[in-house]
């Protein structure tokens, strides 16, 4: 082996690792011989599933849209403004028309499981439910199917 002359810390040693790398390197690569006998390769579809994700497809678009929608992006997100807004409304002084709009929005972002709370407790539950919806939007669905990292 050749001796490295560059400072040690700046050299990266390439390395193979898991099955994903092996598949990535090997599948569909190398010399092809026309005359070869076909043997059945069991499970070859499973090996190629992850490899064949097409970025331009409706499935991918929907997945991207879902992923983008569940992101918790502070700069681009209007939700953090809502709790304050609601507090203003519930502390009185706003017109009934405004209140109706806010109620509509709140229903959408809180979801079904808050319904019971809302019935019984009135204004104090609003802050709770809005905060629970925020933590909900932050949770990850773990949809990534990649085995490698």
């Amino acid at each position: 082996m050749s001796v490295a002359t560059t400072p040690r810390g700046y050299i990266e040693r390439p390395r193979p690792s898991g099955l994903a790398d092996v598949i990535d390197v090997i599948l569909d690569k190398g010399l092809v011989i026309d005359a070869y006998v076909r043997v059945s390769l069991i499970g070859i579809e499973i090996l190629t599933i992850d490899a064949r994700i097409v970025i331009a497809s409706v499935d991918t678009y929907l997945r991207f849209a879902e992923a983008v929608n569940r992101l918790d992006i502070t700069e681009a997100d209007h939700q953090p403004g809502l709790p304050e807004l609601m507090e203003e409304v519930t502390s009185g002084g706003a017109s009934s028309k405004t209140k109706g709009v806010i109620e509509g929005v709140k229903e959408k972002i809180t979801g079904d499981d808050d319904d019971d709370d809302d019935k019984g407790k009135g204004s104090s539950s609003r802050r709770r439910s809005s905060s629970s919806s925020r933590s909900g939007s932050r949770s990850r669905s773990g949809s990534s199917s990649k085995g490698s990292s």
Binding site: E12, P14, L19, K29, G30, L31, I33, T60, Y61, S144
Partner: protein
């Protein structure tokens, strides 16, 4: 039947310790100056996930010391005579040519993935179109926004594709000067950034590695970079054994 792994120059040390497909010992079939690495096969069905490792291990071991042309995974011929008659003999010239060009060179793969959440957040911040589509959809009930969601996803995919292309160009710019040839392969998975393969002189692997380290530093935590090799020249023998010289030779 005979399972075929690859072809190398006869006379080069090529005894293989690694077990082959179906745990069979690996041996050579010779013709002229060439030697095909093969093993005997009993069945007609192979468990792909296990045998793909055997295929890898055999070629990996041989490629550590000599140049070997990989044959595509799953290639099986009738018997030793068929290895000579359908592989070595009719393609002797082409194989010799490839062996000469690839001699003393190895393949190094550089793969990069994005952290998907971070990539998408960057896109929402950078693209007003995506941001406003996203805001609009958030106010609609899920069923009502089906087509809007497809449009949003399509816009996001467009941005992802643009970033992939830009990042692949950056990587090529940084690494190509240290390689003899390069290949742009299809990135895998929706979080794949780029998949590049480089043909590098054995003696230049460290210099290439240093360039990868610099590029990694430059990319920061935006990209998860994987550097894999040295490999037999899998990507540079993607060849259907017909006449003609490789474009990069």
């Amino acid at each position: 039947m005979i399972y075929v792994y690859g072809v190398l120059r006869r006379g080069r040390r090529a005894d293989v310790a690694a077990a082959g497909v179906e745990q069979a010992p690996v041996r050579g079939v010779e013709h002229g100056d060439l030697l095909a690495l093969v093993s005997d096969l009993d069945g007609t069905v192979l468990a792909a996930a296990r045998e793909v490792r055997a295929h890898w291990a055999v070629l990996d071991e041989v490629a550590r010391s000599v140049t070997v042309l990989p044959v595509r995974f799953g290639t099986v011929l009738e018997d030793d005579d068929a290895v000579r008659a359908s592989l070595l003999e009719p393609n002797a010239e082409r194989i010799a040519e490839l062996l000469e060009v690839l001699d003393g060179r190895v393949q190094l793969n550089v793969r990069a993935h994005y952290d998907e959440d971070r990539l998408l957040a960057d896109i929402v911040r950078a693209s007003p179109t995506v941001a406003s589509m996203r805001d609009r959809i958030k106010r609609l009930p899920e069923q009502a926004a089906y087509y809007q969601r497809i449009q949003l996803g399509e816009a996001v995919a467009g941005e992802v594709a643009r970033r992939r292309e830009a990042d692949a160009s950056l990587a090529l710019e940084a690494l190509e000067p240290h390689a003899v040839a390069s290949l742009v392969e299809e990135p895998r998975g929706s979080d794949g950034a780029f998949a590049l393969a480089f043909l590098v002189e054995r003696g230049a692997v460290d210099a290439f590695g240093a360039a990868v380290a610099r590029f990694r530093e430059q990319a920061g935590d935006r990209l998860r970079i994987r550097f894999i090799g040295p490999l037999p020249p899998y990507g540079f023998t993607d060849d259907e054994l017909r006449a003609g010289s490789p474009a990069w030779a």
